[in-house]
Symmetry: D2
Subunit: 357 residues, 4 copies
């Protein structure tokens, strides 16, 4: 389903890539919260396609239209519905997808799941375009978190083998997070960023694509929030993060690296700084026993390379069950990672807000 | 919360490490399913402590007592409650934990979350011991899955830097999964296993601890199950897997490795084998667009090193807010990974069963 | 919240009476189900205002626009979003409601709940107008139920003290239910209907309003569906029916009348009819132990009289906390019961469909 | 399912009438709340059978044993599990129920639902005995509500046609609610109570049974809690109240009586009393638009007469599909209403508490 939620905060995403519109209903926003629409549009623009060499050539302004839940610039407490009209659709590119499985795509699994009745144009409801409404929801959540002193930000940690510097998990600040959000290409080290762009352009030229890792932090999140076992912050965040198409892995704190440390190395020693309890290091990523420690909450999200590549690929016709070849048409990102950065911020922000309402 | 569930299958885990009993209520099991109690006990025994040099010396038979939901060896369809009495408790080992935070543990976050009213003895409800009821639930789920032709199995993929062979994601069989479940130390390559045991014993000797990775597969899971976005198989599995204490990362298919491949390398080409549609490779881990493809479902779960180490560690008294030193007493696993293998199988099995009822 | 759902079928309603639009997202509809849009519009028209002397003079065509989830007249399996643009709004009628509580309305409770930030125009999200999206969802559910041989229908059982004949709970047929749906004023006995209309017109003339009871049946619902305790059909139906504004009571089968019978009178004796097990009478309303028996499912829903009456009423200014008088302006139904009939059908249909997917 | 919950407060009930034990897991209780076990036992005793001429002769002490979630008389914040061992079981009374449907019971519907694998002894999980764990949960909830200044109480409003005085919905106090809880037979007017007892004894003598209505109030519940549409207080309360076996109707405030009033009669005029906003009357039962108004929350719950009567009744053998006759054996309440009073209090208290956490 495209419904996510816990307790009193829920979202329901709808739409297909080439349908009339896509959008989201958010239920449970607290009332009277001012929403800065310019900032929201700027956040959505960070995800919007068609801006650079690393993204699809489909151009969509992706300006959200608020149908309900806001009055005079503030939330009313009633469900907020935001809609984006689809415009630049080239549906004829997708005719052969009704029967031929694009490798790495959900064409075949969706065919089985929906008995062939699903809308295949532009991947329908499976399109990465459906992250646009998620970004609206997350953009609103980010503003509400900021009202509470919490900043969520992310950057590209790696594209294929090119790495950006990582955040210092123990000391990262809201200022650092905000600084990256102002960048066209969201990395800490711009030189690494340029190498990433070159790498992506090269892959595109070779009709290939790349994946990468997005690192996300939340600073200022209060300590003592969350629960053990199945309602922990990690469970909640991962349950929404895997909703972003192409995500294949999620880790918190030191994550998989922690498996290669000893306990003495991985344990974060407590100390007093400015009269407050904190930890010297932050391998735990701000979460212990599912509950926030007051340290920055850190996560890394793995994105596989875009499956749509314009090379000839071996596949099958899933109606006739015959092997065949396929050249994927349509306009695709050679690497989704740059545009995935605000998506990860959005998902994380929405999930973290749900822990506070 | 310690409730997990979706649709018509839910579980609710209760108990504290040094309380009267721990247990689980499972609601939504289909009726009339035979449960082999000997097999269930054998599965629980795989997790039980006190058996080897790599685990805690606490001895608990951990034999589940079924209070409801079964009659004449079959499920009744009513909620199934299973209880394990606690016996071998050394509560006096934990007195100082009421005020002193063990690094890497939830003592401090739990203190904040529960205003100091939580049961700290043996980590209370945060104890790894709470995976025993999860294993009961998962052991029952495994049997119900087997009735449907599905086998779930796992092994230790790595301990610190010592690696086992990985499953071949495209060809792994139920027989391979079953073979490992019969081993005392669940690895594919027993020589790697011996090196892991040595490594763990060495760490224990140095009052240190190790982490590692568990790899889990489900074979025979039908294609076309799951949903896009937030109700995908990855979302559902990760939401329960992060409920196992010490888990800091979860990945599916090629996971984080996929971020270092190109699209051409990572895409799994479709082919026809024995008249059935499948993929040549299985970097997608049996899941595309949140929906099963019919290929083996594969995941890897990162466990941090046990935080309880008997070295002197720097920490704080969170009541007086003073820095201090701590030597953790009590009996702890120098590495939880071996005992975590059935926990991962259990969590995965329960989540996968929930997709089928 | 305005989210309702269970298992794999959920709806999320949004909008305010005088906002840009109202609508609904339905997630979990099975794919490939043909939707007859003319029939859906006709069903929505049964709820639409402005048609007769018994309803508000606000005129809204209330034609649903489908934004997603349908292709070529069939469901795609993706979330279906339907929107109704608001048009005939007289927002200036509501200025004084920002501070003055209309008796019987949610003005004061909403003010507290939303700290005064809620949209009060036309009652905002509390408006009976929000049943329009519910009717869209229910209209679709009715069609899907009909594909499965199930018919849901309702009629006005009473307006104040004027009573219609009740359905014969044991023998009511789909034909009888369909016959009433074709009527302008949905009663079994048209003479009672005329008396009701007179009664309502009389109340309107005296600046007063009336309530009444809607009786609803589902015929053809399969036996053996539902669960004991909290997931029973009665729990599920009541949890959605109380979502219709002005509902103050819900009963199933003989309901409150059963409390005045003896066990010997109330028990429905089983018998064999046409080779099938059924009951001679149907005081149980087709539900025993939360599970369907195969007999018609019957319920009655109590609607209070419209609180908006154009008489001078005593009330308070909830900002200044001073007593005052109020004459409610705006256009209101002197009796909501006639227009509530499709709302009850819609809610019941959606809830019953949720039990089958 | 036997799981109920919203947001951070959930319960999961398990057990069968003649199984090893029945019980409940409550997850989400706030930590550090003192629980008076004597008071809890006294509350459970109000529901326990075998005390008087109006109840079954089965004797069960029904003393809850707390397995987890409490330490030194206070909640720990971890899931609380309470168990009651079954003792006085006469399972041989139920042998014929495996194939013969008791009129008014769930035997036949359960047989279909669980393919005949359900435990039929003493009605298994469908037994009224399963309200014992509900009463434990509700008894704890009542104490937590009392810590917050809220009192929940109920009385028998009617047995068949014998009526007790109703609470004055606008003025009822915590003292009045507490007074009734001290009575052996919970009515306001003891003379009515004696007539009810006579009526029940008479019915029992004639091998018949009676139903009735329980009225329940909550005093002190804060204003401004709840939500419109599907998360209203009425939706939430009804979704748990219909979980009590034999309940066939639920109404709030004036309920079905409101349908016979005019708007001018039913509207509750606001006024200022002691500086606070309240209503002169309370036909709205303390709930407007799903949200609490600060007035007493009032509800009435309809219980059908006990279906188990020792007369010869016509029925069918649902395995052979032949008509036959049945005399129900076993020990049954000639009227469940007196013992249902604490059950209604319990369900209401748990649901109301869930709105506050």
């Amino acid at each position: 389903m495209s419904v996510w939620g816990r307790n009193n905060l829920k979202l329901s995403i709808f739409g297909e890539s080439h349908g009339a519109a896509i959008g989201v209903v958010i239920d449970g926003l607290s009332a009277g919260e001012p929403i800065d629409m310019e900032e929201l549009k700027a956040f959505c623009a960070r995800r919007a396609p068609g801006k650079s060499s690393t993204s699809t050539k489909r151009k969509e302004a992706d300006i959200p239209q608020i149908l309900s839940g806001m009055l005079n610039g503030k939330t009313t407490g009633a469900p907020l519905c935001a809609v984006i009209q689809n415009s630049d659709t080239h549906s004829q590119d997708y005719d052969n997808l009704k029967t031929t499985a694009r490798p790495g795509h959900a064409d075949y699994t969706a065919f089985l799941r929906y008995s062939g009745a699903n809308d295949v144009r532009g991947s329908g409801h499976f399109s990465g375009r459906l992250t646009a409404p998620l970004v609206i929801a997350g953009g609103i959540a980010k503003q509400l978190l900021r009202h509470r002193g919490i900043e969520v930000g992310a950057h590209i940690l790696s594209v294929q083998n090119v790495k950006d510097r990582a955040f210092d998990a123990a000391t990262v600040t809201a200022q650092e997070l905000l600084k990256i959000q102002g960048k066209e290409f969201p990395v800490i080290d711009d030189q690494s960023g340029e190498m990433m762009i070159q790498q992506i352009e090269m892959a595109a030229k070779h009709l290939n694509s790349l994946g990468g890792v997005v690192e996300c932090c939340a600073v200022g999140f209060p300590a003592g929030v969350g629960s053990p076992m199945f309602d922990g912050i990690e469970n909640i965040l991962s349950s929404i993060l895997f909703g972003i198409p192409a995500v294949k892995g999620v880790e918190f704190g030191a994550g998989f690296d922690a498996t290669r440390m000893t306990g003495a190395e991985n344990n974060d020693y407590y100390c007093i700084r400015d009269g407050e309890i904190c930890t010297e290091t932050n391998n735990h990523g701000g979460i212990l026993g599912g509950i926030s420690s007051g340290m920055p909450i850190t996560m890394r999200v793995a994105f596989k390379p875009t499956p749509s590549i314009s090379r000839t690929q071996r596949t099958v016709n899933f109606v006739t069950k015959e092997e065949c070849e396929l050249v994927v048409k349509g306009r695709h990102d050679p690497c989704v990672v740059p545009r995935a950065v605000p998506c990860v911020e959005a998902a994380a922000a929405f999930a973290l807000l749900s822990l506070l309402v």
